[in-house]
Structures are given as structure tokens and as C-alpha cells.
């Protein structure tokens, strides 16, 4: 294997790699703005200049191919001088309006200034004025003054989104990013340009001015927008989710996330309930104490538990594998429901990059659990049919994520008993006798199986508020009051039981899913293919 000498250390590399790739792998930091591991090389920011022995001048590490026997210096005075000078040039026309810039706190200009420049400005001339509020598209706002014209966004649209809507206009220090006349940045992946922007030039309309970056707490999760299950970071503050950002996963979404997925950031906030709802007679539901609601739910379910006739239990396709298993055990051991239903969202837009038509993030996982447990679920139409014909008299609805909410609620009006577990107040909560407050997917630990049959872990970003509890905790509470005590003190015990009980998950190692997920040995459907 060829090798080069990096700051006196011998570093092996694959033929065709550049200096920056070899250095990144060795954890040698070379600063860069325009380079991106998943985009083509532009070498226009000049921040990654390094000294290569026998080369006449400093070389950009992002563009220079590593060659055998090359001697590279990244820390000597010549390189540091160049970094200082390049950074000073980048800041010549930068407005330095950090206090009102959304990028502040996660801005590479700020980080590199502290790291590589740290010198007062010597610029006495007026800065070049450019448009500061240009709406490039429905989700992206551009501030040309802050832009360092690294063209990452342009290259993203050209190469990854395959939709060249952006370009560089004008020359010299008047260069700016923009759309050609008549073109709008309305691609389904346009918000990735905001992510790749190393400075605050591109901001997203959905996050703009909502919060400062340093106030947000970050947790790792999976996007619930469709069955692709892109890996994401969830940024929240005080229980309010402000944005979803892509998390690198080579097997699923690389570094990208579609706009549709990002816009689901508000699902955990919208109509969120953290207190139980109870409904008497024909009144609207009123909030009540969690224990009182649980007692009421038990009182309503008790006569049904052993009757076994006319009882429907439905689960949302947004439930985790663990929740599906607990739900399956609950309806088999406790409720003995004769109608099992699965509710979910209708198919939506798709493309050959990330988005798939199925908008339910865990269809594969829930279906596998149900198949292994011998449960034969019906869909919403059949469920409504049975409610209207009187075959179903009582309904335990777990999860509210369904496109048929209003129709189901209308059909369920005549039922004697409707018990609901949900994290948001939807149409079903309006007709339910008792609604127990659940938690959304960003607040629960669990596993989702995406369309590629990859088991991926959700991590609870913050604790449930007030009386809210995860679905499986509510089901276990009801079960114990109806005389069935499950011995699952933790999520790990549930996962271990799924591994030992369900044949589909025998090889899954659910108890030790790594941050980027594990591929399950199941048949992968054709729609899982992606060109990303």
C-alpha cells in the first residue's frame, strides 16, 4: 500500500485518495469550507492549503492526490501563515453579524477564526453590500453578504439532488449564489443546501429565528416521515422539537434528508397531550389525573377482557417493534380481542433518492412482529365496516397516526367503549372515553425497521412530561390491573424476549443495535433501491 509522510508520521492511503482524505482518517485536522466528503472537489476556499515538499507553493489538500513518498506538513509556520491570511480574506466582506445570524454557535467561520486566525480586523474599507434577504425557494432564504461562495450548495443541487437550480452569478467579490430568472429552489431536497452551508448564508424558513443553536439539546433518532428511516439528529429545547437534521449513515441516507422529512419536526409538538383526557356522556374530553384515567380505562376494559367478542384493538404503523410486541402480547393474553387492526398513513410522494411512497416508518417491523405472533390485522376500511355493522362494540386504539382519523372517529361514535393511547389530540381522542397520554417517537426508546429491512434505534431525546408514558408502559399498567403481570423491568428485557420468541428477529440482535442500525436477513423489496 502506498504511503505518505504527514507531519512526520507515515500514513497509508488507497490509490486515488487526496491528502485531506488520508488526513481525516488519521484524525489530523485540516480546516476546509468548500470540501465535502460527499461532493465533488472545488478547491475554491483555499482554507486547506498544506505544504508539500518539492512543490513550488502550498497545495490545497482537498484536491491534491496523495502520492507514494509524499511529505506533507500541516502545522508549520508557512501553513499557519497561509491559514491566517486565507481566513482574513474570507472575512473581508463578511458582515460579522453573529448576534443576529442563525448559524452562530455552529458556524465554521466562528470556529476557524478562533482556531486559525484570532487577529483583529485590518479592513478599513466599506464592505461590499449585497442582498441580505433573498428567498430562493419556499424553504430557503439566502443572505449574500454572509456567503463565502464555497459553492457547496450549488454542487449539492447538481450532483446529489440532480436538479441544478442554483448557480453562481457575477464575478469577484460581487459573486453570489442565486437561481436563474424563472427558477425557484423548490426541489424536494432543497433544505440540504442549508446543512452543507458552512456559514449562515442559507437559512431554512422552518427554523429561522426560532432558537439559537447553543440552546438546543441534540439526540439521535430516525426520521418518521416515510419508510426510508433516514438517520437524524433531533434538536429540542424544553420539550419542543425545533428541527431535524440528517445524521450520517452510509447504508441509508448518507448525509442527506428530504424536505418532507424535515417538516415532520412539528409532529411531536402539534396537539401534544401530556395529561390524560376523559369524556363523560356527549361532552368534549376534559383533562384529568393519570391515575384516575388509568382506573377508568381498566374499569371500561375489564368486562371486555374475558368476553373476547366484539373487541377491536388497533396499533399504529408508527409504533416501535417493542411496542408492537407488547401490544401483541396484550391483545392475546389480556384483552383477547377478536379484531386486530393496523392503522397508518396513506402512500405519498416518492422519488428515486430517499423518499418512498409508504409514509409509515415501521411497517416492516410491525408486520413481522404480527406475522410471528399469529395476529392477522385488518385495515381501516374493514375496521370501519365492522364498527358500523356492530361486530365491533369496543375499541382500544393505540396510536393516532392514521389518514382515516375523522372517518374512524365518526364510525366509533356509536361504540360503547373507546380507549385511546396517543401523544397528540386527534379526532380519535375526541370520541374516546379515555385517552392516555403517550409519547412521540422522539421521546421513546425503540426500534424501527425501514423499507431496506434495516433495524434502527430510536433514542429518547427527553423525558416524558407530566403523566405521559410510552405506550408499552400504559399497556403493562392496564395488564397488571387486569391480573396479568409482565416481567419486563426494562426495554432490554423486552428486546431479549422478542429475540428469543419471534423467529424473524432471532438473528436481529435487537439488544445491541449500533447507532447506524443492523441489516436484517429479510428479503428487501424493490422499492428500497435508492440512487443517493
Amino acid at each position: 500500500m502506498p504511503s505518505l509522510t504527514l507531519d512526520g508520521k507515515k500514513v497509508d492511503f488507497q490509490p486515488g485518495e487526496t491528502i485531506i482524505q488520508a488526513a481525516t482518517r488519521e484524525n489530523v485536522e485540516i480546516p476546509y469550507y468548500c470540501w465535502h466528503p460527499r461532493l465533488s472537489v472545488a478547491a475554491n476556499c483555499r482554507m486547506c492549503l498544506v505544504e508539500v515538499e518539492k512543490a513550488p507553493k502550498l497545495m490545497p489538500a482537498c484536491q491534491t492526490a496523495a502520492t507514494d513518498g509524499m511529505v506533507v506538513h500541516t502545522q508549520n509556520e508557512k501553513v499557519k501563515d497561509a491559514q491566517r491570511a486565507v481566513h482574513e480574506f474570507l472575512l473581508v466582506n463578511h458582515p460579522i453579524d453573529c448576534p443576529i445570524c442563525d448559524q452562530a454557535g455552529e458556524c465554521k467561520l466562528q470556529d476557524y477564526y478562533m482556531e486559525y486566525q484570532l487577529a483583529p480586523s485590518r479592513v478599513v474599507e466599506h464592505k461590499v453590500n449585497k442582498p441580505r434577504l433573498e428567498e430562493l425557494g419556499p424553504h430557503v432564504v439566502y443572505n449574500a453578504e454572509r456567503c463565502i461562495v464555497c459553492t457547496r450548495c450549488v454542487r449539492f443541487m447538481d450532483e446529489v439532488a440532480q436538479n441544478p437550480q442554483l448557480g453562481v452569478f457575477n464575478r469577484g467579490d460581487h459573486s453570489e449564489i442565486g437561481c436563474a430568472p424563472g427558477v425557484v429552489l423548490d426541489d424536494a431536497y432543497s433544505l440540504n443546501t442549508v446543512d452543507v452551508c458552512p456559514v449562515g448564508a442559507l437559512t431554512s424558513t422552518i427554523f429561522r429565528f426560532k432558537q439559537r443553536a447553543w440552546n438546543l439539546k441534540r439526540s439521535d433518532s430516525v426520521c418518521g416521515g416515510c419508510a426510508r428511516g433516514c438517520n437524524i439528529h433531533v434538536d429540542q429545547r424544553s420539550g419542543v422539537v425545533y428541527r431535524l437534521l440528517p445524521r450520517d449513515n452510509d447504508a441509508v441516507n448518507k448525509s442527506w434528508l428530504c424536505d418532507e422529512g424535515r417538516l415532520t419536526y412539528n409532529r411531536p409538538n402539534e396537539g401534544k397531550i401530556t395529561e390524560a383526557l376523559i369524556r363523560e356522556g356527549q361532552d368534549a374530553p376534559t383533562t384529568t389525573d393519570g391515575v384516575a384515567a388509568l382506573n377508568k380505562a381498566v374499569e371500561l376494559l375489564k368486562p371486555l377482557a374475558n368476553a373476547g367478542k366484539g373487541v377491536a384493538a388497533t396499533l399504529s404503523l408508527h409504533a416501535t417493534v417493542e411496542e408492537a410486541y407488547v401490544f401483541g402480547r396484550f391483545v392475546k393474553d389480556v384483552l383477547k380481542a377478536d379484531t386486530i387492526g393496523l392503522v397508518g398513513l396513506l402512500p405519498g410522494g416518492q422519488d428515486d433518492l430517499l423518499r418512498v411512497a409508504d409514509k409509515n416508518p415501521n411497517r416492516a417491523g410491525v408486520m413481522a412482529v404480527f406475522a410471528d405472533m399469529g395476529l392477522k390485522p385488518v385495515d381501516e376500511r374493514e375496521l370501519m365496516q365492522r364498527m358500523k355493522s356492530g361486530t365491533v362494540k369496543a375499541w382500544l386504539a393505540v396510536g393516532h397516526e392514521t389518514s382515516f382519523g375523522p372517518e374512524l372517529a365518526l364510525a366509533a361514535k356509536g361504540l360503547e367503549v373507546v380507549v385511546h393511547v396517543a401523544y397528540a389530540r386527534g379526532p380519535i381522542a375526541e370520541v374516546a372515553r379515555v385517552t392516555l397520554p403517550g409519547v412521540s417517537w422522539v421521546q421513546t426508546d425503540g426500534t424501527w425497521v425501514n423499507v431496506q429491512q434495516r433495524a434502527q434505534r430510536l433514542k429518547a431525546g427527553f423525558l416524558p412530561e407530566h403523566d405521559a408514558k410510552p405506550t408499552h408502559a400504559w399497556l403493562m399498567d392496564i395488564a397488571s390491573r387486569l391480573g396479568v403481570a409482565y416481567a419486563w423491568p426494562s426495554m432490554t428485557t423486552i428486546r431479549a424476549e422478542i429475540e428469543s420468541q419471534l423467529p424473524s428477529f432471532r438473528e436481529a440482535k435487537l439488544t445491541q443495535v449500533p447507532p447506524t442500525g443492523t441489516q436484517l436477513p429479510w428479503a428487501v423489496p424493490a422499492e428500497a433501491a435508492s440512487k443517493i
Binding site: 453579524d97 448576534p99 443576529i100 466599506h126 453590500n129 441580505r132 434577504l133 429561522r208 429565528f209 426560532k210 439559537r212 447553543w214 440552546n215
Partner: protein
């Protein structure tokens, strides 16, 4: 080995042992203070307290009173909703909601700016943190009394309506750090 030193007992005289004259002497001092403070004038009396609220102490120039938000020339708030004050605040008492400014020369403005005066510890870090000189504590006003906790939360309009104490620098004075530098254009 320590040395034990034996002392003779102090013998008190009958005058001392009776205590009565000494008690009377103490009472006389106390009463003397009482009457000199009750009827003496402000300059001559040696009392440290003031007769609030008829008399009020003159606060030092840098006394940190209730906060106020400063205005631009057109009367709008100088605050640009940058959250620096709420970030610096050790008591977490400043709540800001930023919004897109209707004036397109200004990027954002505070749609809500609330200070919970019950939480505030009057440390003045918000004033130091402000890059726009938009918040000051130069009103010289005490925290007013409240009847409910909600009353203690003062909003943007209240904060904008307060004025600085006489003698404090105006908003557009020599201390404006942007003075002499073009802003934007």
C-alpha cells in the same frame, strides 16, 4: 507538660454586683439615641437608616434598578432578538421570541421580550451582554410590589416605556459604540 496558671477570682463591689446602675446607664444611652434621632435633624443624627418612604436614599450612579429597553429614533425597540442577554442570564429570567422584522434593513426583532422580575437577580449581565445597547438597568426604579406571579413578568411594551434616570447617557450618545462607523450601508 502544660503549665496551669491559677488566677485570683475578681471581687466585684456591691455597686457592681447590684447591676442596677449599669442597667440604668445602658437605658440612658439607648434613650439618648432614641430622642436625638426622633427629634434631631437629618444632618446631626447618627442613625444609619432612613425614614422610608418620606426620605429616600440617593442611589449611586451605577445602581442597578429595573430594566428598560431602549428605543430607536423611530420609537421601535433597539433589541434585535439575538438572545445574548437570555444566554448570559444566570437566573434564566429573560424570555425572547424572535420574528422577522417588517423593516427589511433589520433582520429580526423581538415579538416578545419578557423578564420575570421574581427570577431576576439584578446582576446586570444582560446589560453587559447586549451588543446593541438595547437593555439597561439605569431606571433607578426598585422592583415594584406584585400581587400575583404573573404581574412580575414584564413585557416588551412595559420595558420600552421606562425611562432612564436623569443624568444617565441618552441612547444616541457618545458611548454608542457604533458611533462614527457606518451601519450596513
Amino acid at each position: 507538660m502544660g503549665v496551669v496558671r491559677v488566677r485570683d477570682r475578681v471581687e466585684y463591689s456591691l455597686y457592681e454586683r447590684s447591676f442596677v446602675p449599669e442597667i440604668l446607664r445602658g437605658l440612658a444611652i439607648t434613650l439618648g439615641h432614641f430622642f436625638s434621632n426622633a427629634f434631631g435633624n437629618k444632618e446631626t443624627r447618627n442613625l444609619q437608616t432612613v425614614r422610608y418612604p418620606e426620605e429616600q436614599r440617593v442611589y449611586p450612579a451605577r445602581y442597578r434598578g429595573q430594566h428598560r429597553l431602549l428605543q430607536r429614533e423611530d420609537g421601535s425597540s433597539r433589541c434585535v432578538a439575538c438572545y445574548m442577554c437570555s444566554t448570559a442570564c444566570p437566573a434564566y429570567c429573560i424570555h425572547i421570541v424572535a420574528a422577522e422584522s417588517p423593516d427589511n434593513r433589520i433582520e429580526k426583532y423581538p415579538a416578545a421580550f419578557e423578564i420575570d422580575l421574581l427570577r431576576c437577580i439584578y446582576c446586570g449581565l444582560c446589560v453587559e451582554a447586549c451588543p446593541e445597547d438595547a437593555i439597561r438597568m439605569d431606571t433607578g426604579v426598585h422592583t415594584p410590589p406584585f400581587f400575583t406571579r404573573d404581574d412580575a413578568v414584564v413585557g416588551r411594551i412595559d420595558l420600552l416605556s421606562l425611562m432612564g434616570r436623569a443624568g444617565t447617557a441618552p441612547a444616541y450618545g457618545a458611548q454608542n459604540y457604533r458611533e462614527g462607523k457606518p451601519r450596513g450601508a
